[in-house]
Symmetry: C2
Subunit: 140 residues, 2 copies
DNA sequence: TTTCTAATTTTCAATAGTTGCTAATTAGCA
DNA sequence: TGCTAATTAGCAACTATTGAAAATTAGAAA
């Protein structure tokens, strides 16, 4: 996603208002590679702006998603996660600690067994143990 | 998953009872490639057995899943879908009609950008238009 | 066949995640 | 400074799923 400053301009140009709540979320999401859930963002946001509503967090996340600034990802952990990295990439989820990492593949794998399906997008979710957790597992 | 007959034996051997509700679900799932949700199965089940509870459907699906007879898949459509095909395969979802199809890939793609992650499983979800829906789109 | 009991089903309440609605507030233009 | 459409907060509602407890029942044993 673009920087908070660029988003400020983009929002105004689109006829959208730049509220303190939105600015806060722009900042919390920028360069955030933690793949936070709406609720996780809400917790952090509340520290800096007590009284901000969870509804506003969801609303802003949906706005940013439909503008293509962030993407919503579902790695099967119950709630949606949000990723400011909108480049072509995939995700690896640690079954132990739940961390979600961005990963890249050389080429999207070609699928067999289905004729005439026009693929628009392919998303891969890897599951396993992250480096830290597999280290810890070794010492047991 | 195994046939209803084989499952009947397997359940009894595991000390589990074979109730009419379970037998019905065995039949509804066997050779079912529609990737139904719990609710979809409940609807069909209700026709043949009015009064069956949604809770029982969930319970039986969870039991079959933990026995490895079916697998639970999440293609981002809100609710879990259940697949009696437990071979190593992936899924293609039509953005138009919502149909979910089984697909196969030659080899799981190797991921880059993350060191030390021990991959246990990789799941690919393709999105796009199925053959039927892309046909229809052509004629517009 | 009847009895018994643990397993199962049903019912209903509860939970998590998310969205709909509305009144009150406010950004930002005139 | 005022105005107004956009936004926020608050809360109800909704979907998907699970928890808990009472009632029922499969299937082994008598």
């Amino acid at each position: 996603m673009r920087s908070p400053e660029e988003l400020t301009i983009a929002f105004r140009e689109a006829g959208l208002k730049v509220t303190p709540q939105r600015q806060l979320l722009f900042r919390l999401l920028h360069n955030n590679c933690a793949h936070p859930t709406a609720d996780a963002l809400y917790s952090v946001a509340t520290e800096q702006m007590p009284g901000i509503s969870l509804r506003t967090v969801y609303q802003t996340l949906n706005d940013l998603t439909s503008m293509g600034e962030i993407q919503s990802i579902d790695v099967g952990t119950g709630s949606s996660r949000f990723d400011p990295n909108v480049s072509d990439h995939h995700h690896a989820v640690c079954d132990e600690c739940g961390a979600v990492h961005d990963v890249y593949v050389n080429q999207a794998p070609e699928m067999r067994g289905l004729n005439g399906f026009a693929v628009a997008d392919a998303r891969i979710v890897y599951r396993g143990l992250c480096a830290t957790c597999s280290e810890l597992a070794q010492h047991r």
